[in-house]
């Protein structure tokens, strides 16, 4: 690409890449609690603390609920804050995720995506993060360890952007990415420092008519997290939606700026298309599965099949218009969901994609494949099977089942 900066190659797994990125981001406060498969993140960060490699207050809380709360409170005090979690830990944070976005605290959190109990399962799927899709957090899902590393810096820039001021979660598939070793190109500390900068605070108008930074500051007393009755609450929520709309513009900007420096890009930061230009049959998915889909797409292309992939990198805010544009030429679309929306007629990604296409000029067939729950492996041959189903749908012009399950014993 352009004049990218010199970079070092390190062997890192996904969790280590997160910890390394957090270390480089000059985070002021990290409050966290361990949970598989996120543990390496907190362990590695603890190592940085023990060796004086970070200038960070590290709070090992007694629960994820308190970890999120401490991050929120520290963020409200003006600090850059970071945490990481997964599965039950994220579920325990549920209440505080809404309070954090509602308080407009740009906390950044890595999620080593994992299944939810019961039955207990420590392996990867998207049940945890998908259950929090309406919590007011920006959601980015990475395809590989390199993207995990790159996304953490972008997350700070997006969340802390004065037009956004929202918390951001970066998803990395449990074990598939969290525990897989990859060669990762890492930026020099000073390059990262320049990119992420020091946290800027938005200004707000106080009751005394003064314009002051939005933080807990004895010089400019402010009441944060008050009660808002029906006469005010609604406006607060509308403003959060406005911030999400702004994020839709800011995410590609931050992504492009980072691409200039690093030489790495992921579509436009919202959607990452692969061989989509003339694709007739398309798979839409999230996370590391895109890697497997790419391999199969390549195989099919050599066989003359017009297969393509659309990876949704940013799920919140949902890039509706981008989806419509990207799937304009598609004739049949298989949307893959690594989580359930029980009783909802398909998974969350399916709902959103199909909903977006209602406003499209052309209407492809759109079917849903639920796959990989509890870490069940999804093989290239199964992905090929999905493409073949799409071909069959195009031939027969008929959809047997709207929602199908991949590799499941019925």
């Amino acid at each position: 690409m352009k004049s990218v900066v010199k970079q070092e190659t390190l062997g890192l797994n996904g969790d280590e890449a997160v910890a390394y990125a957090a270390k480089q981001s000059d985070v002021d406060v990290v409050a966290a609690y361990p949970i598989t498969p996120q543990t390496i993140i907190v362990e590695k960060f603890s190592e940085y603390v023990a060796n004086g490699q970070v200038n960070t207050e590290f709070i090992c809380t007694e629960s994820e609920h308190s970890a999120m709360t401490a991050c929120l409170a520290a963020s409200a005090t003006g600090a850059r804050t970071f945490t990481a979690s997964a599965s039950a830990g994220l579920a325990l944070m549920h209440e505080m995720l809404f309070v954090t976005s509602g308080c407009r605290a740009p906390v950044v959190m890595a999620i080593a995506n994992r299944a939810l109990s019961a039955p207990l399962n420590i392996h990867g799927d998207h049940s945890d993060a998908m259950a929090e899709r309406d919590s007011g957090w920006v959601q980015i899902y990475a395809e590989n360890v390199q993207e995990v590393y790159d996304s953490i810096f972008q997350a700070f820039r997006i969340g802390e952007h004065l037009d956004v001021q929202l918390p951001v979660m970066v998803g990395l598939d449990g074990f598939t990415l969290s525990h897989s070793l990859e060669n990762v190109q890492v930026l020099a500390d000073d390059v990262v420092k320049k990119f992420v900068g020091i946290r800027q605070l938005p200004t707000v108008l106080t009751h005394e008519g003064k314009t002051v930074p939005y933080k807990l500051d004895p010089k400019n007393p402010m009441t944060m997290g008050p009660v808002a009755f029906p006469n005010y609450y609604f406006e607060f929520k509308r403003q959060q939606e406005e911030a999400m709309r702004n994020a839709l513009k800011i995410i590609p900007q931050v992504h492009d700026e980072y691409a200039e420096i690093s030489g790495r890009s992921y579509g436009d930061g919202l959607l990452d298309a692969y061989k989509l230009e003339d694709a007739e049959i398309t798979i839409v998915c999230i996370g590391s599965t895109a890697g497997t889909v790419k391999t199969v797409t390549d195989d099919l292309r050599t066989e003359g099949v017009k297969a393509g992939l659309l990876r949704i990198r940013t799920f919140r805010p949902f890039p509706r218009e981008g989806i419509i544009k990207a799937l304009a030429q598609a004739k049949a679309v298989a949307v893959m969901d690594k989580s359930m929306s029980f009783g909802g007629n398909g998974g969350a990604v399916f709902h959103e994609v199909r909903h977006a296409l209602y406003d499209a000029k052309t209407h492809p067939y759109v079917v849903n494949y639920v796959y990989g729950l509890g870490g069940r492996d999804t093989s290239p041959s199964q992905i090929r099977g999905i493409y073949e189903d799409l071909q069959k749908i195009l031939q027969t012009k008929h959809v047997d089942e709207l929602v199908r399950y991949v590799g499941l014993r019925e």
Partner: protein, 338 residues
């Protein structure tokens, strides 16, 4: 990085009791302002106002969800003249942890002025005895430097008088109702302040708004001590206790005089009776029967009927038992004729 969990109170650094004269207090600017919407006779705003008179400099306050949060910060109004944060019900301890840690690192990095900013957390009995005890315990174990104030009105008053772990035996609440077969709450109040002492934290004390100077001095000690401090303050609630709104401060005196709510402090785990309770320990004839305290509250009305009057004896017995235990901890023993 590591905080010392066991920290000594340096007597010389403590503000002397004499400095808090009525004049000093009257002259100090109000930090908890009027205009809030607490009920008539509610003791909690008095407690908050008195405690804010004990501050020594820049202070950030955090509040658990509860009466004082919903009545004093109704957007776009606020009673707080200092920075204040509310996040949720069970989070006062975690809020304080986050604020204190942020202040510490931002000072270290030179991003804020290098000046001490104190942190005070307020929570009610629901937010402390029950839903917030985990966050509180964790924050204390980690040794964050903050003062935690429990204003105890002995039930979930904000949601309509439901029983909490701080509700006393025999009290009728909307979820421990006195009926034809149940005499109000069947369990006794959890000894929360003793639980906090068991954390081996530097400073724990109990206080009552009737003894306002004792309350302010204890709050100041809690602020000045390095590390976590816990202050358990009695806060009568006329709505929930079915008591005369003009008698809340009197009730907070009676609770001490009957030894239902004795006043003490534990500095580094060493228990010591505070003067109002010490007076009773030294002159046991001054100890009033619990009936004097219970009979002026509607929540205990059913105990004054033949069906449930044995509960009165039980309350007296438990009160005596706890009082005697406390005397032992303070190195005092009750004379036999008590």
């Amino acid at each position: 990085m590591r905080r010392k969990n066991k920290l000594t109170v340096v007597e010389g650094n403590m503000i002397s009791e004499g400095k808090f004269t009525a004049k000093d207090i009257a002259e100090k600017p109000e930090l908890f302002l009027s205009g809030h919407r607490a009920c008539a006779g509610c003791a909690a705003p008095t407690v908050l106002r008195l405690i804010m008179k004990a501050t020594r400099g820049p202070t950030i306050v955090t509040n658990a969800t509860g009466c004082m949060e919903v009545s004093a910060t109704i957007y776009p109004y606020t009673s707080w003249a200092i920075p204040w944060l509310h996040t949720a019900f069970e989070t006062a301890g975690a809020n304080a942890s986050g604020i204190e840690s942020a202040l510490k690192i931002l000072r270290k990095k030179g991003r804020i002025e290098d000046k001490q900013v104190d942190v005070i957390a307020f929570a009610g009995d629901g937010g402390t005895y029950d839903i917030g005890i985990q966050a509180l315990s964790g924050a204390v174990e980690r040794g964050h430097d903050f003062l935690y104030v429990l204003y105890d009105n002995e039930a979930y008053m904000n949601t309509g008088i439901q029983r909490s772990g701080g509700t006393p035996l025999g009290a009728s609440t909307t979820t421990s109702q006195a009926g034809s077969v149940v005499p109000g709450k069947l369990e006794n109040k959890k000894p929360i302040a003793d639980i906090m002492v068991a954390h081996e934290m530097p400073y724990v004390a109990t206080a009552s708004p009737f003894y306002w100077k004792d309350l302010i001095v204890k709050a100041r000690k809690g602020i000045e001590v390095n590390g976590p401090a816990f202050l358990h303050v009695f806060a009568p609630c006329p709505r929930g206790w079915r008591s005369d709104p003009s008698k809340s401060i009197e009730l907070s005196r009676l609770a001490v005089e009957t030894c239902i709510f004795p006043l003490w402090e534990a500095v580094n785990g060493e228990y010591q009776l505070s003067i109002p309770s010490k007076v009773i320990a030294l002159a046991p004839q001054k100890k009033k029967p619990v009936k004097d305290y219970l009979q002026v509250q509607g929540r205990f009305r059913h105990l004054f009927t033949p069906k449930y009057e044995k509960i009165l004896d039980e309350i007296q017995r438990i009160t005596d038992e706890r009082w005697n235990k406390l005397l032992k901890k303070c190195g005092m023993t009750q004379p036999k004729n008590a």
